[in-house]
């Protein structure tokens, strides 16, 4: 069934694509060298679609989310393309980009506790946002818009003029979502929206995200490290490793038939009730200043082959329509003779030095 969904999505016309990211790179300059937080990422997001972005901490997920919206520190270098409804957000003037944030682009944050200005009432947060983007709206109109958005999140109108410190974490996250969605943006980045919340609230928030998608045709980039949430809330999934997307495809087939060894290992590491022994991926996430050569996962990959440290694998498309960067899936003609032999662990060091 999910498979069909994926096929249907693939068949939709190109102009249904809301966001198209091509070869995006975000580098930070430090004394030790450039940190390649995002290093050549491409993906598309269709209208009303939720793309889950998973990966270990420090793999560049959050930087990618911020980079798409142009919310990076001034010193970060950005290259590549982020086309939103045909316009490139990377080269767009700051002022124009700022005007898009709110009415067209939204961001929901990880920690709701600190994201609201403690000195401003909830109502002021809404009025400020609405007034910035809809010059000329009356106060009554703005109030109605705000109350509608809050109501959809289950926040009663009586709490409208309260201060942030008077709400619980789950309520604050719902307020943040209402605030991000009050102007019905076409594209929302949700950066680990449930990580800081308890399990019951988490379920609530996921339900809310599903509703939004249904009701408003909003496209969501959902960043998380919780694979359960991906299965629950996402149409497609992109697995990120060391600044690159290792594999992306429709959520269910990707989880049932992972094409990339990293996805497989990540799924195996998940703890569930049926877990009998703990599985983990040996080694540590790579240094993004001096990442491993070739495929960045090869030092930790159980299936590493001789070709892996030498070149980065090109993207191939599997039978299940997953886009995967792994030499296991070819293309065979690019693999040098003998390249498919298993990689000796001693070779890693040699290859790395070379």
């Amino acid at each position: 069934m999910t498979l069909l969904d994926g096929d249907a999505a693939a068949a939709t016309p190109v102009d249904d694509i809301v966001l198209s990211v091509r070869d995006l790179r975000v580098w930070y300059g430090t004394a030790r060298g450039a940190v390649r937080a995002v290093d050549g990422v491409s993906f598309d997001l269709r209208r009303g679609e939720t793309l889950g972005l998973v990966g270990e901490s420090g793999c560049g997920k959050s930087t990618l989310g911020r980079g798409v919206l142009g919310l990076l520190p001034d010193a970060a270098k950005v290259a590549g393309e982020v086309r939103f409804r045909g316009e490139d957000l990377v080269t767009m003037p700051r002022r124009r980009l700022r005007a898009l944030r709110g009415p067209h682009l939204g961001l929901v944050f990880q920690e709701p506790m600190t994201r609201l200005n403690p000195l401003m009432r909830i109502s002021d947060h809404f009025f400020e946002t609405l007034h910035t983007h809809q010059r000329g709206a009356t106060k009554a109109q703005m109030r109605q818009q705000a109350l509608d958005a809050l109501g959809a999140m289950g926040i009663p109108p009586t709490r409208f003029t309260n201060y942030p410190h008077e709400f619980s974490g789950g309520m604050r996250q719902r307020i943040m979502i209402a605030l991000a969605l009050v102007l019905n943006p076409a594209f929302v980045v949700a950066d680990e929206p449930t990580t800081a919340l308890d399990v019951l609230v988490e379920a609530q928030i996921i339900a809310i995200l599903n509703d939004i998608k249904k009701n408003f045709d909003t496209s969501i980039l959902l960043i998380t490290h919780n694979l359960g949430i991906i299965a629950e809330a996402c149409d497609r999934v992109a697995v990120m490793y060391a600044g690159r997307i290792a594999e992306q495809g429709a959520a269910r087939p990707t989880f049932s038939h992972p094409a990339h060894p990293y996805t497989r290992e990540l799924l195996a590491s998940t703890i569930s009730l049926s877990t009998t022994e703990l599985h983990y991926i040996p080694g540590a996430p790579p240094d993004l200043i001096d990442p491993p050569s070739g495929c960045r996962f090869h030092p930790r990959c159980p299936d590493a082959m001789r070709v892996c440290p030498t070149r980065h694998p090109p993207t191939t498309i599997t039978q299940l329509d997953q886009r995967v960067d792994c030499w296991l899936h070819g293309p065979d003609e690019l693999i040098p003779p003998g390249g498919t032999a298993p990689l000796d662990r001693e070779d890693i060091g040699v290859a790395h030095e070379a």
């Binding site: 070869d23 790179r25 580098w27 930070y28 300059g29 430090t30 004394a31 450039a34 050549g40 142009g70 520190p73 010193a75 970060a76 270098k77 950005v78 290259a79 590549g80 990377v90 080269t91 767009m92 003037p93 700051r94 980009l97 050569s293 070149r311 980065h312």
Partner: protein, 348 residues
């Protein structure tokens, strides 16, 4: 009233009190970031040190650098120097209303200033730091009383406190000899202001360090209070001291000048003091005699600025709260495979 903020008159940033958590760091390790520093803060530190160094040289080699003694007003022929004389060949910065050489007062004044500063900072440190350590570590009614007294002293206008103490101490240090008694009583008056500052900062750091797991662990393992304070708490707290000491030194010089300006500092017969010189120059200012006031004032500004730059840059370098990893410019370059066209979209 019991605000945790630090010294407004010295005005090191409030964050200067923030302890670095979780590690045992001695003074040497605390100063390590200074060696690693790059760019502006390090330059500021060097410039400040250079400015201070000039006055240290003045102070040490005063008799050789200065053309006259600070209280010399007669030429070799027994002729009096001109009163408020213009800068000239024989008097580089002119002479003042007391017919003494302004430049010589600058040079000898550095000696007075540095003597007072050093004595005041050392004494207030010797009293304030142990008091803060013990008060913070043991707590209890003694701690509460001390905090209250120190807060009261801290809230009171510091210059007035110094004036009152200077007034009471007048002539009390006669046994130290004429030139040193004035310096000593000025230093003590200033000390009174700074004890509460050391006390507050040290006590607050002790209180936050005291609850750290490793201090708890040391106590559980049966370490004596003396060991815990000396080795664990002191080591972690001491890193605040260089910053406060430098900034307090700058402030102490201003207080000394203020005391001198009001006539409660070092007396003119005892030593050369810039604040007193400025008091004497005040009456001449509206008459357009500028050299008697501009030069001593400039000396104060340069020395205070030098000390402040040293203190501020130490604070920037040592204080993790304000420190920020500077992002450097970076160029996105093509990968080995050349899959990227290196166009640079930064600077948006």
């Amino acid at each position: 009233m019991t605000s945790e903020f630090m010294a407004p008159s010295t005005a090191p940033t409030a964050a200067a009190t923030a302890p670095r958590r979780g590690r045992f760091i001695g003074l040497r390790r605390a100063l390590a970031p200074v060696g690693e520093a790059r760019g502006l803060p390090k330059w500021v530190l060097y410039i400040g040190l250079a400015m201070v160094a000039v006055f240290v040289v003045f102070a040490i080699f005063a008799p050789w650098i200065s053309p006259y003694r600070f209280d010399e007003y007669l030429t070799g022929h027994g002729q009096r120097f001109p009163k408020s004389g213009h800068p000239s060949g024989s008097h580089l910065f002119g002479t003042n209303i007391m017919s003494t050489d302004v430049f010589s007062h600058i040079v000898y004044g550095s000696r007075t200033a540095l003597e007072v500063i050093v004595i005041a900072v050392i004494i207030s440190m010797l009293i304030g730091v142990p008091l803060g350590l013990f008060s913070g570590y043991y707590g209890g009614p003694l701690d509460r009383t001390l905090v209250l007294v120190m807060d009261a002293m801290f809230a009171f206008p510091s210059l007035l406190l110094a004036i009152l103490v200077a007034f009471l101490l007048r002539g009390k240090f006669g046994f130290l000899g004429a030139s040193f008694s004035g310096i000593m009583s000025a230093a003590i008056s200033i000390t009174v202001i700074y004890i509460p500052q050391y006390f507050r900062v040290i006590r607050n750091s002790v209180i936050s360090v005291r609850e750290e797991p490793y201090v708890e662990a040391a106590r559980v393992l049966g370490a004596k209070p003396r060991t815990v304070i000396g080795r664990y708490v002191f080591g972690n707290v001491v890193q605040n001291v260089p910053v406060i000491a430098t900034l307090n030194a700058a402030d102490a010089l201003l207080t000394l000048a203020g005391l001198g300006f009001l006539g409660y500092g070092v007396q003119p017969t005892e030593a050369a003091e810039w604040g007193y010189d400025l008091q004497r120059a005040l009456g001449e200012a509206s008459g357009g005699i500028w050299w008697t006031s501009v030069y001593p004032g400039l000396a104060i500004v340069l020395l205070v600025t030098g000390l402040t730059l040293v203190g501020e840059s130490l604070n920037d370098l040592l204080n993790p709260v304000l420190r920020r990893r500077q992002l450097l410019p970076v160029d996105i370059v093509a990968d080995v495979e050349g899959e990227v066209s290196p166009h640079d979209a930064a600077g948006r």
